[in-house]
Amino acid sequence: MKIRQAVWSCLLGLCFISHARAEDSAARVAGQVDQAILKELKAAKIEPAKLANDEDFLRRVSIDLAGAVPTAREVTLFGLNTDPAKRTKVIDQLLASDEYAANWARYWRDVILLRATNMRARLVNDPFLDWMTDALKQNRHWDKIATDLLTATGDVRENGKTALFFAHEGDANEVAGEVSRIFMGIQIQCANCHNHPWDRWKREQFHEIAAFFPRVTVRRTDPNNLGQWEVVSFDARTDRTNVRANIMANADGIFRFADRNRDGKLSKDEAENTPLSRLFDRILENGDKNKDGMISVAEFKEMPPPPEQPGRGNAEHFMPDLNNPASQGTKINPKFFLTSTHTVRDLDDMDRREWFAEELTSAKNEWFSKAIVNRIWGELTGQGFYMPIDDIGPDRKCSNPDALESLAKGFTEHGYDLKWLFRTIALTQTYQRQVQARVLSEDTPAFASATPTRLRGDQLYGSLIKVLGITEPANQGPRFGQAAGANRFGPRNPREAFNAVFGFDPSTPQDDITGNVPQALFLMNSPQVASQVRAEGNTRLADLLKKYSDDNDAFNELYLMVLAREPSAKELEICRSYVKQINNRREAFEDLMWSLLNSSEFLSKR
């Protein structure tokens, strides 16, 4: 009994120590990152921005980690809290929340599925979200998540891990490009067709990655049901290439055996009960050059190879001949371009995929760690070490490589622990600085301040319903693909309809995201927003005006509610004079709330 207790306390102690050490390491690495950045700024004689105030920090970190603005109450309480460690504590609380998992699962859904090459990829939308949310909630480490996605098989409606393959219909070239981009930040897909003009990657190297995936097969589980798909491994027994190769190797023998009347040609009758019977119509269609309805040995041997069908399972990967696109091209064996030096032949599908996942997530592959560090850093601070965030690599310019190195090294040492990464970045002073306009110059050191970025569709939707006090409907509508017609992949619920207007590919550089007319129209005129910007009935604004009879109090509350901060003296002045000018309290407040919801600040992370 005593021993057992001792063991338990020992174990608990260990847990405690390792937890404390992890915390220390996050703060330690955050300090290294800040130092590297300050060093560069100092050398360039640039004064870093001050740390953001509590209001701005809380709004920023809530949006980043949990996907929505904080409530007015949370802002006020956080401001009043005198605990010096309150920022660290709120980071930990947010990382432990369910919203963290939901927010980042949606982010990854957009990264993977907004690039999908076929609308039907939507079928895997919900299963992916379910799986990814669960994985993030359990803090499944990034290498495990990558491996899950790369080795998935099964029905796409049940197994969300199939998303990456299903998004690209299992096409080895598309998958190779996306896998490199998402997990390594390397845009090697440009080398699909030509050697990259300014990268070191060669065309062969791209196709060597693709050669890990030719046997991935995406097919209907039920040929009669358009909405049922599965990702499976290529089955060698039905390997068309093998069957063909066997027949071709024995062409003379098969011919002698089948050509009963010895006229040197096979008719349909003669082909009956031979290995060719099932295929004979196809053989005639493709091989009967002189159109005599029969196949000669010569015609048979000259038949063109069957076309490669991307995503339908092929034994091997072929690199197309650019000068002769109709030919089969060169057979390529799988090889991981960064770490392995040897080529392994004749592995089955799962062996290939598992081997790829192993090479990809190996600590020897620095880009696996750097890609996600760069991505998350860019998403949180508004500017990646490399820009765009998914175009990195040895031939790209990196702002402050030392800072990136510290983060990537720490992340790798912590076994690719995502929460450690979020925590470390959020703890840096760099993350916590005030926003300033982005400096558009290649020579100025980066990260002197935070830069304002636009909320993603889901973050904006989450914030909007929180501000307006609307509960999101639990019912997500019918499954994708169930409704008939062209709209079977259209939005099924308010969130998706909102995302159709406000969503964007999260890998897009912030400079390209400037908003568009339909978004402005939605916030200005949509019945959804208009019905809530009313000072009567059951709305937040009506409540607020009832509760706060003093206009100044009401202005404060309105600002806290919509922008998660108190108004400045100047803003109070504008509000006061507006109310006076309109001379109708309800109408004036409706106009002010409309203005705040339509402001660029509401749409931005500050």
Binding site: S441, N525, S600
Partner: protein, 430 residues
């Protein structure tokens, strides 16, 4: 402020109006004593020539088969079962099903020798929209958006660029040239009806503008600047009487029938209405009942259905623009990502084939009723006058009096030509 930043601000800032541009050129040049009165008049004439020019792109998403469109090879293995029909121009035959277009052939020039290297949908879509191959480092503006920057009247109250269906964006050219995407051609776009009376709407915009100062002063100046532009533009649009151009209800039924009862047909009719109203660039994407042109399977059945939607839309658009005297100022360009293989695959389909494909072009001074280039007998190669995408874009620039070599400054200070390389197809101009 660095130079690059300065340029960026200028780019995103409202376009300098033509008048002030002329004034600036004149003022600087006169001050330097380099510009004579005659130069000034010539400059003005060149500017005037651009006024009121338009481009309509009919985007054949998926990559249309040249054999089933404008380069049929009847009686050959490559041609398959597709027959050819005569057109209004003797000697020019096109694939069956294109009856309306055939009757308009005197106004349309066919290019049978388009050639390119890009065989993947997203990459070719990007290239055929921007004139550049996609790269990770910079996003190029769509060609039509670059043209809109040169041609659009900055005081016009509808968007300069409208797209029926998804398209490429204006990238660093900014919100003024960002395509306004219409999902349902023919009806008023969503949320364009102001929910309050117009006076109150203007008051709201006024107080919003005032309140934006705070964020601008706290590091958000660029964001606020973009937002102000977007809101000014949107407000101008929703209060404009031109908005009714989006609704096609009041068009005569007979004309609606000619365009065809399909989304594509309605899109073409909307394109004509928008051009008539003053929109500079309209793109109509093919999204038919039969899906798109990516006919890897059942090529012949599927193209029949696709042609049935596209033909009345395309042919009627050209003749309708001509009837209204708009064709002289409007280029209509029919094109997709690439062509399709001469070989018919075992699934009765045709696969991607960038080496040989078709384009059709009309209006803007293009001489119709002619064929540019030719493909070999089996359609696998070009035997005469190859035309690259950038040659085609240069041709469109010439037809619209835009300098294809004009450079815009990208955000990182790299100048970028509207079209990089390429030569206009001279024969198209008679």
């Amino acid at each position: 402020m660095t130079i690059a930043q300065h340029d960026h601000v200028q780019l995103l800032g409202s376009s300098v109006s033509r008048r002030s541009f002329l004034y600036q050129v004149a003022a600087t040049a006169c001050a330097a004593g380099t510009l004579s009165l005659r130069d000034l008049v010539t400059l003005e004439a060149a500017e005037l020539k651009k006024q009121g020019k338009h481009l309509v792109v009919l985007w054949m998403a998926g990559g249309p088969s040249q054999f089933e469109c404008f380069d049929p090879k009847t009686g050959t293995d490559s041609g398959g079962e597709t027959k050819s029909i005569k057109t209004s121009v003797s000697g020019i035959q096109i694939a069956e099903g294109w009856d309306v277009t055939a009757k308009t052939m005197q106004d349309i020039a066919l290019i049978r020798s388009m050639t390119n290297k890009e065989g993947s949908h997203p990459r070719a879509t990007y290239q055929l929209h921007t004139g550049y191959a996609p790269t990770g480092s910079v996003k190029h503006p769509a060609f039509g958006c670059s043209l809109a920057k040169e041609l659009a009247n900055p005081d016009f109250d509808l968007p300069a660029v409208v797209s029926v269906g998804p398209t490429q964006g204006s990238a660093f050219l900014g919100v003024n040239f960002e395509p306004f995407v219409v999902d349902q051609p023919g009806s008023l776009p969503q949320n364009t009806r102001v929910v309050t009376d117009t006076d109150r709407y203007r008051r709201r915009l006024g107080v919003l503008n005032q309140l934006e100062d705070e964020f601008a002063s706290r590091g958000g100046q660029q964001v606020v600047e973009n937002h102000r532009q977007l809101y000014a533009k949107t407000a101008k649009m929703v209060t404009s009487s031109n908005l009714k151009a989006f609704q096609i209800d009041d068009e005569p039924q007979a004309l609606k029938d000619r365009y065809g009862n399909s989304d594509f047909g309605r899109g073409c009719m909307l394109a004509r209405r928008l051009v008539e109203t003053g929109v500079t660039f309209v793109e109509v994407s093919m999204r038919g009942r039969m899906g798109n042109w990516d006919t890897h399977q059942d090529n012949f059945d599927r193209t029949r259905g696709l042609v049935a939607d596209v033909d009345p839309g395309f042919g009627t658009l050209v003749s309708d623009l001509k009837d209204r005297g708009l064709l002289e100022k409007t280029v209509v360009l029919w094109i997709g990502e690439f062509g399709r293989t001469p070989k018919i695959n075992p699934r009765g389909g045709r696969d991607h084939y960038p080496r040989v494909f078709n384009a059709a072009i009309a209006g803007g001074g293009i001489k119709g009723g002619q064929v540019i280039g030719a493909s070999s007998k089996d359609g696998s190669d070009i035997v005469d006058n190859p035309v690259t995408p950038n040659d085609l874009f240069c041709t469109v620039c010439q037809a619209l009096s835009v300098d294809a070599a004009k450079e815009n400054m990208s955000p990182l200070g790299r100048p970028m030509k509207i079209v990089d390389g390429g030569t206009p197809v001279k024969k198209l101009f008679g």
